[in-house]
Symmetry: C2
């Protein structure tokens, strides 16, 4: 029989404070425990796993509780292919974009890049996310043409990362935590990639620009 | 003579509401205008540019005001090389990481990857960001070895993006908005890369996993 535990142990094992566990139970992102008396319930491994998932998404991925609700709902429904679940996660974590931030030249450029990579996209909100971010930079006075090459390099980088993502998921499809891992990695992979980009920038920038210090 | 304007026009030109402009003036992230009477001041192009920068960082990059203060402070100081300014931006936007999230195996793996790429890093908080994110994923039940290849692919992707960043900055060093552009791109480049990764994932995932739907 699986090990059952009280709230205090659940908190210790998952590293999530009791007050947060109670919030997650109320919000329905954590399934209820097995009630043993009106004031007590027992929890199992499934609760520990779910809390670790929530903690990873919240603490490192900075995902709002509302998005976690959607993600967890899709996990619990246990319908839909891995492709559909991951698509839903993407929708949940991609914040809606303020329309004013669209620059038409940028929009065309982004669509060209998508076509260049042979990607196809069905109303992926990530496209608008890219358009908005780049439009903002260009609004500062940048020349869109200067960003064409940059964007193209980013698309190549994204393709490498995404291929590795998909290969990683495909390799572990039999693992019983694969969907949770895939969901978390969809979110935290952004953090990993951003972090590595910063480390790479530090090295590249030091080589190129640090001599300015001596002038 | 440069065009000077009142608060209302500054708001219209920058797309930032008057209440926010007043907050930024109080917080010192926007330099004061030229006072023409006790209740009125005039603003110029420098204010429009600064507001666009703040808006880009806040709205798309989701950078907290405290970090924007640090970034703007470094811009205004006008000392330090481009390398130093970008390094400071990185520090400001990289949130401090909860130490409990470190897994030793992951830490070693990340350092190996950094060495593999020939990167060097001087206490870059981005390293801890990567370690924490990956540690959280592995905590869910993943096998660290399975992530070795993924991490290596991500490092290659990050190198491509960072090289393009540095080349882009080097190409435009003479532009008078280069530091603002570089600062914004350091932040929003993450958003662009995440967005493109999601689009690439959608394509890759559809190819590989969508057949599950028909089973």
């Amino acid at each position: 029989m699986a090990h059952l535990m009280r709230m205090a142990e659940l908190s210790a094992q998952s590293g999530v404070p009791v007050a947060s566990i109670k919030l997650y139970l109320r919000e329905g992102v954590l399934p209820p425990g097995e009630r043993t008396s009106p004031n007590q319930a027992l929890y199992g491994e499934i609760h520990v796993r779910r809390l670790r998932l929530i903690r990873a998404l919240r603490e490192v991925g900075d995902v709002p509780l509302a998005a976690i609700k959607t993600i967890v709902g899709a996990l619990d429904a246990q319908t839909g292919s891995t492709h559909e679940i991951l698509g839903m996660v993407q929708q949940a974590i991609t914040a809606p974009i303020d329309d004013s931030a669209r620059d038409e030249v940028v929009e065309t450029m982004v669509d060209e890049i998508i076509a260049e990579q042979g990607w196809f996209t069905r109303q992926n909100p990530a496209r608008d996310m890219v358009v908005a971010a780049l439009s903002r930079v260009i609004e500062l006075g940048g020349d869109p043409a200067q960003y064409r090459e940059l964007l193209s390099a980013y698309a190549r980088a994204a393709e490498i990362a995404a291929r590795a993502d998909i290969a990683g998921i495909a390799r572990e499809l039999e693992s019983d935590t694969i969907v949770e891992e895939a969901v978390t990695w969809t979110v935290l992979g952004d953090t990993v990639l951003s972090g590595l980009r910063r480390i790479a920038q530090e090295s590249g920038s030091a080589k190129l620009f640090r001599h300015e210090e001596c002038e």
